[in-house]
């Protein structure tokens, strides 16, 4: 099989070929390393590439499979981890040269679970410094570039994860999502990004940004791959105090394509916010497709949406500043300037304001819970605009000019506040060829419904089959 074709197969497709021994993990890893070699100078997805380690792991996987010890759909599959996931013996920088030589002694739980599933780590992915930004701009390791147009941002903070999965450099990538940092790069790079329910996937061994808002999640090219990945990494971890002891179903069993009678609510406030007209139309068309498939679409009111930036921003800034307090005092001048300002700004939030934001969070969550009793899913655009130019401080969203950070987190932050599962899936392209995405969010621990609806839409359309021109 052609090497590029191997790079664009999903894990679901690749796993069948690997299991039946039509394709060897060694060929798969070689194909991906070749792809990385041909695209990395443009994309800058990686901070640390591990070619020798990956080739050795591929040979071991090939041998195990030949002996009949096939572990499952991730065995032999190339994976990339955002560079704040600790990996034993492999440097983990969190996107900052301050930690250029930091080598963890222990794998994070997610890395351990990938290893147990037989996945092969290709490398550590570039990111917005300390995960504190939605664009994927990084002055220490270089900016990440969008595979659909390298002049545009990949999105962040899991920017390298987005560009690597979109460009076929990795089959599966992992990011972390505090205000949208899995869903934003997924949306801007034209792939699938899942933020699971808070506590479903362990945060142990990840550099925190905001303890109560951080969610690890996959960036992949199909909804099936999101389900396959979740099967491997979800589940209780005693090392993470927020980890939930909920029963873990087989998430791939949810992919029935049946959405008849599924109630999907679209907050009218989403459409009243700054929003590009092409994005609005693509999302409207996506909802029509879901209606044609049997879903019941209705407009609802979500008044608390207006408070989401203030609630989420206060909590995030205060928690991030608390975590990085010592670093700021010692090495603040070594940080990327925008990240430094955001971290230092958090030091000025009073305890009373932080607690008020947490009270606001309680009210926000009550309202969302009520809405998700009326409907099964909340839907809307993931992003109000397509990927902006690298270092653009503002974007044009409809007839409004707004700050890039505010724009890119506008629709994603609410589901970090609630901890709800939320997925971003491709739903179209702008006239300039840039991806547009639909976001679906559901009740806590109801990933099956979120995945079911996302999969049904994906399989009824062709967006997921398009490849960037790189």
């Amino acid at each position: 099989m052609d090497r590029l074709e191997l790079c664009y197969l999903s894990a679901g497709q690749l796993s069948k070929l690997i299991q039946s021994r039509e394709v060897s993990p060694v060929e798969v890893i070689d194909a991906h390393l070749h792809r990385i070699e041909g695209t990395e100078t443009v994309l800058n997805s990686f901070i640390t590439l591990l070619p020798e380690q990956a080739r050795e792991a591929a040979q071991r996987a090939e041998h195990q499979i030949q002996l009949g010890h096939y572990r499952g759909p991730l065995h032999g599959i190339p994976v990339g981890l955002k560079d704040l996931f600790n990996t034993a013996g492999v440097r983990t920088t969190s996107g900052s040269r301050i930690f250029d030589n930091f080598i963890p002694g222990e794998d994070c739980t997610v890395a351990t679970r990938f290893q147990q599933a037989g996945a092969i780590l290709l490398g550590k992915l570039n990111m917005h410094q300390f995960a504190y930004g939605p664009t994927g701009e990084n002055l220490d390791y270089g900016h990440m570039h969008n595979p659909w147009n390298p002049e545009m941002v990949s999105g962040g903070s899991s920017g390298g994860s987005g560009s690597a999965a979109s460009a076929g450099q990795c089959t599966i990538t992992m990011g972390s999502d505090t205000g949208g940092s899995v869903r934003i790069p997924a949306a801007l790079c034209g792939i699938v990004g899942l933020k699971p329910t808070y506590g479903l996937v362990s945060r142990h061994g990840l550099t925190p940004l905001s303890w109560s808002l951080d969610h690890p999640g996959p960036l992949v090219r199909t909804v099936e791959d999101a389900a396959i990945t979740l099967n491997a990494i979800a589940g209780y971890d005693p090392k993470d105090i927020a980890s939930c002891r909920s029963e873990i179903p087989d998430y791939t069993a949810a992919l029935t394509r049946d959405v008849k009678g599924l109630r999907i609510g679209v907050p009218k406030e989403y459409l009243e916010a700054p929003l590009d007209t092409e994005v609005a139309q693509a999302v409207q068309d996506a909802l029509s497709t879901l209606a044609d498939l049997g879903a019941i679409i209705s407009q609802i009111s979500f008044p608390s949406f207006e408070q989401s930036q203030a609630i989420s921003g206060t909590i995030l800034m205060a928690e991030a500043a608390a975590y990085h307090r010592d670093l700021l005092a010692k090495d603040g001048d070594k940080l990327n300037p925008p990240v430094r300002l955001r971290l230092e700004g958090g030091l000025f939030i009073s305890a009373a304001d932080y607690l008020r934001a947490q009270q606001g969070r309680m009210l926000f969550n009550r309202e969302t819970k009520r809405l998700l009793e009326q409907v099964d899913l909340l839907a809307g655009p993931t992003e109000p605009v397509t990927a902006p130019k690298i270092l653009a401080p503002q974007v044009q969203a409809g007839d409004q000019t707004i700050g890039t950070t505010a724009a890119l987190t506008q629709y994603t932050r609410p589901y970090n506040i609630t901890g709800s599962p939320a997925i971003s899936i491709p739903c179209g392209f702008s006239t300039s060829g840039m991806p547009i995405a639909l976001q679906l969010a559901g009740r806590s621990f109801d990933e099956p419904t979120v995945l079911r609806a996302a999969h049904a839409y994906e399989q009824a359309t062709q967006w997921h089959k398009r490849r960037p021109p790189i």
Binding site: Q307, Q309, A310, I311, L328, E344, L347
Partner: protein, 63 residues
């Protein structure tokens, strides 16, 4: 120290010092307006009716 959404320069410097920042650095001239803008952006929280809401961070005793 704070009136409405205004943080006086003196209050800002006091808080920066308490937070361990180098208040003699020129960087304070960049940070001060940023902090003012940030505090303004979260001002709307004061309008929430939180009379019936505890902070969403319940303590769970060890089990």
């Amino acid at each position: 120290m704070q009136e409405g959404n205004q943080l006086s320069r003196d209050a800002f410097i006091y808080l920066a010092q308490a937070a361990g920042l180098d208040t003699k650095s020129d960087h304070m001239n960049e940070l001060y307006p940023y902090v003012q803008s940030m505090l303004k952006s979260i001002e709307s929280l004061k309008n929430l009716d939180v009379s019936n809401a505890e902070p969403d961070m319940a303590f769970q005793p060890p089990q």
